[in-house]
Amino acid sequence: MTLEEVLRTIEGKLISPHADLSQEIAMACGADLMSDVLAFTHTGTLLMTGLTNPQVVRTAEMAGIVAIVFVRGKLPPPETVALAEEKGIPLLASQYTMYETCGRLYRTGLKSCGLFQLTADNWPHDAVPSCGPATELL
């Protein structure tokens, strides 16, 4: 899925003026906990978050996140936009909630990041970690 298709699906707004919208994303993840982003995402992920501070961009840089979507109509402060520009990470905004933004993308067949096997192993036996089109567990 390209960023252009993402933008259309979430009826979003492009914040980064010079972004390359033909970039492909392979999967997506919604999180407000940056440690979870570092733990559960893979290279090629689209991140949905309600946080707008520059550390979100830092986290994205470290985790190999392709682009960031700010949900609930939030717009990031200039320092976040500047850092994202420097690191070449496109920023998008959605006026919908985290649930709806993720839902719109999930409905198109965009895959979830999935969980690490390590985390899944610790679950009780009757629980199922993901019933959707999750990526192969690591």
Partner: protein, 316 residues
Amino acid sequence: MVDTHGEEKITASAKSILEVTKLQELVYELKIEEVMTKKVVTVSPDDTMRAMKEVLRMNRISGAPVMRGRELVGIISIENVIKALERGEIEATVGEKMTSEVQTLFADETVIHAVNKFGRLGFGRLPVVNRQGQLVGILTQGDIARGLLRQLEIDYHEEEIHRYRASHIFQDIVSDQTGLILRYKVQPRDFSRCGEAASKLKRALERLGALPAIVRRIAVVSYEAETNLVIHTTQGGELLAEIQPEKIRIIAVDHGPGIPDVEQALRPGYSTAPDWIRELGFGAGMGLSNIKTCSDEMHLDSKIGVGTRLEVIINM
């Protein structure tokens, strides 16, 4: 051994709100003389329009400066030829049909001057003169586009060379055990700069040609360790990366306050982070467990009042 202190000034804050792309930067940096065509085809005011038309056709150009000796006296283009043809005046001289009020550009001005002038005047080409008024070149919008693309390619090539040189460090320097030590100082409580050390280390590893999957693990480990130094230490600390051909050792050291119960600190979800850190999306007690997941070996030693030392090994 090479020892580098990661204290170079950051560009992020300097750039601030001004979002300048590489291309925009180049428009302000590149000189007109670097992109213009230096070999200029000129015509004489005494030539006929018919002869001038042939000059344009043979050279595959759409206009030319008009020179009387060494003096620039006008400019003529294909448009003038068409008008002359319409009126049956193809035998007229160039001097009669040319535009004699010539707009020029200075060779030592930056490309942005040319872009603005083209935008304002709508001309197809502008003669370029030096400060003595002598014709030294000609510039079209196509020249600008080609010049910018060429420069972008050069800049890209330079990064490739950096990468190539760095990746040969371990082959070029021979010893029984070659290692590269990168040392980064981390300030306490300064959350706005948190991640700079990890970011520099990540870039260094990319230049050294480490595999992307390995780079990602090292980035996560160093970022989480740096975050811990920023959030929890009283005087900050140091992040140290010892890079060897077959493995990387990352060490985060500080001088206090120290962890009261190391085993408890290692438990996923256990955190002593203050609320302001949690509001930023950190401090959920996942840092050390993330580090453990990404590393091949991990040791955490701490003593109250003395400090903490985290050592991680990741095999390349």
